[in-house]
Subunit: 434 residues, 2 copies
């Protein structure tokens, strides 16, 4: 048993002062407001539930501050990303993912949803363990002290043109299992263990032909899909199938309450209705969607229609999920000319979307829930003076002081238990560029 005394905590009903939280075996067993501090571990500032990064590509972290020199588009950026992908092996992937997940933990993330598509060795050769790259991610998360939902992505085709799907190019061969059945067989061989959920992903309608979609949809666990990030994807899908990507996914049974559509930027009104009617969640990745010049998605409209809304850091432009919440709100303000498009409590809900990663018992400070706590300082230059109830619109990752995952303190006074995360990131990233 361990106990924490929170100066203030964001409980399901709002901010409450002087809250004692008791945990046992990684689960919250009691939440008592209005209790004076005693011998508990004290958490000053405001304590929020742990955050869920619903969309991570760990290895994209290596691209931060490396692709801003030449203009271009999403598609030219992708060439740089492929060049990094081509250089990774299970060991370098482990080092990079571990440091990336530790960086996410420093910003309050307690569950990472890793949308994983870098499966095989160069040329598509299988590693001795065909899940060696997945195992690297599992080990990385365990060592970084965060839970992992491995969204193992099916990626079969190299793109969608007027004549249908192309074969994978040399880099994309690392992503492909050759067939949806082979993909399913490999995923099924990955053993379960504590702190891990195994889910599935359709990389995109570019990478998975229609006939293969039901195989991926039949997999157990959370199901994620990149959806309508770029207009070119919509154009190609419409030209070949005569349907939008959302319509195609709906036809193939990919949408539904255990599905999360990532990006969902370029949607028709009909697409929005299909997502909402099916109970599909939507994952906004606002800093990536700005960085890659994707556009601003209709996230307020989707939430109003009934889609659960979650957040992802995606390519890790920053590893700051609070920053994603702020960029979500900023984009909605710019699109409408109105302020306060998301209430602070709605942003906290989006920050804590563990259910979209298969952890419905996380993300609330309530008895019976996982003991994930994020203490945000209210006395830093950035946060000083703010109303604690509005902290999600103010604080950044650097203001996070303590992070508890399943009852374990992973970040203590702004330091990760793994030590110097900056040094570990440099060691992991720099060799990929030399």
């Amino acid at each position: 048993m361990s106990t924490f005394w929170c100066e203030r905590a964001e409980l399901p009903g709002g901010i409450v002062d002087a809250v004692r939280i008791t945990t046992e075996g990684g689960v919250i067993t009691a939440v008592e407001p209005g209790v004076p501090p005693g011998g508990e571990r004290r958490l000053p500032g405001v304590v929020l539930p742990g955050f869920a990064d619903a969309h991570s590509h760990a290895f994209h972290r290596a691209l931060r501050g490396r692709t801003h020199d030449g203009g271009g588009t999403f598609w030219t950026w992708r060439e740089r990303m492929y060049a990094v992908a081509a250089r990774l092996d299970p060991d370098s992937y482990l080092a990079l993912a571990r440091a990336t997940y530790a960086e996410l933990a420093l910003g309050g993330v307690t569950t990472v949803g890793e949308f994983s598509y870098l499966h095989h060795a160069p040329g598509g050769r299988r590693y001795a363990d065909p899940n060696a790259m997945s195992e690297a991610l599992v080990q990385a998360a365990a060592e970084a002290g965060v839970r992992l939902t491995l969204l193992d992505a099916c990626y079969l085709a190299g793109g969608l043109g007027p004549d249908g799907h192309a074969s994978p190019d040399p880099v994309q061969q690392r992503f492909s299992d050759g067939s949806a059945e082979a993909w399913a067989e490999r995923v099924a061989a990955l053993p379960a263990r504590p702190g891990l959920r195994i889910g599935a992903a359709v990389h995109s309608v570019r990478a998975v032909p229609r006939a293969d979609l039901p195989v991926v949809a039949a997999a157990a666990g959370p199901l994620h899909v990149h959806l309508s990030e770029q207009p070119a994807e919509n154009d190609a899908c419409l030209a070949f199938y005569g349907r939008t990507p959302t319509e195609l996914l709906a036809d193939a049974g990919v949408l539904g309450p255990r599905t999360t559509a990532v990006h969902a930027v370029h949607l028709t009104a009909g697409d929005r209705e299909l997502l909402a009617a099916s109970g599909t969640a939507v994952c906004a990745c606002p800093t990536t969607e700005a960085d890659l010049a994707d556009g601003t998605g209709p996230f307020r409209e989707l939430l109003d229609a009934g889609c659960p809304l979650v957040l992802g850091t995606d390519q890790h432009v920053t590893a700051d999920l609070l920053g994603e919440a702020q960029a979500l709100e900023a984009g909605a303000r710019l699109a409408t000319g109105e302020r306060g498009r998301f209430r602070p409590a709605e942003l906290v809900a989006a920050l804590t979307g563990h259910a979209a990663l298969g952890w419905p018992d996380a993300g609330r400070l309530a008895a019976g829930c996982r003991a994930d706590l994020v203490a945000v300082a209210l006395d830093t230059p950035r946060t000083a003076g703010a109303d604690p109830a509005q902290i999600a619109l103010v604080a950044g990752a650097a203001d996070v002081r303590t992070v508890v995952v399943d009852g374990r303190v992973v970040v203590d006074d702004g330091r990760h238990v793994l030590g110097d995360v900056g040094a570990q990131l440099r060691e992991a990233v720099e060799p990929l560029w030399t």
Copy 2:
């Protein structure tokens, strides 16, 4: 004389390793690349020139994290801002501005451009020293260790309607000198001193009738003006004058090479031509323009047309000028679907726009320039792995380690010489809300 050894420095031609910078009397006397470290003060990471915050309203810092609860618009936000303005006196203004300027310095700002319009006591009563509020700002900057350009704003009218300008409301009476001539007389009485430039500002076409514009334009020093931040301002100006705000300012002689137009969001093609042809600079305040749902200005187009482009933190949504540069670029990407709309060196130029504040000898690491240095760490979780030449797209205020202003170390290892800036901000802000 003091000397600094920079692991890397952003010189006018680009990033150079191992640079010794010698200063004397606050001025750089020598810049020597490729020198091994000796007894100099060592600055690890990458050293940039000092930043210029070209548009600050210091007292708006009190609104951070305080206005996100009720939706609304720019205009409802302004009601909250007026409520804070109504409570300030010279002492509380000094405390708030000093802590705000210290926060800006922590993020690398070495010159603040304070667009000042809170001049008088409640009801418009004059303080014993009619410049008491200006003196508070001057003292605040001196104590926070930054240079100040006081852009003393003329604010005569309470708004512009179909029948012309309204009288100031009770709060706005604090902003008004009663006439442009009285404004000019008060400004002229403010004594010069080191580290201070005195400039002028037209608050906006809402607040200064056409007949009074030439009086403000005749003042010496830099001249700033809020321009076309909200569509309603344009509509009112067009309805009453039959001209856009830009056209009106051009007619009245307000535009020109010593003028900076702040916001410049809602412009016609003709407006852009007037700004460029006159050599007017443009100040983008991207986080404020998102927070207040103003819109995204045509900043790339204005820069291409020849307008110098600078940055401001304005209402201090954050006090992170690097974040403004990143929001500028993000907005341009979202507006165009293309990446790299501003080259990294263009963003550094926008960060260092001291010339728009009357300090043309600041903002470059070169002999003869003011000795303003900003050392940004390359080993934090946020910056690790980035190309130093792209650091303006990556780092945040929390990554700034050392700040030198006019040769004086104001921020040392992330700590301001004033001490605990977070505590000082809390002490200044919280009484305004109780």
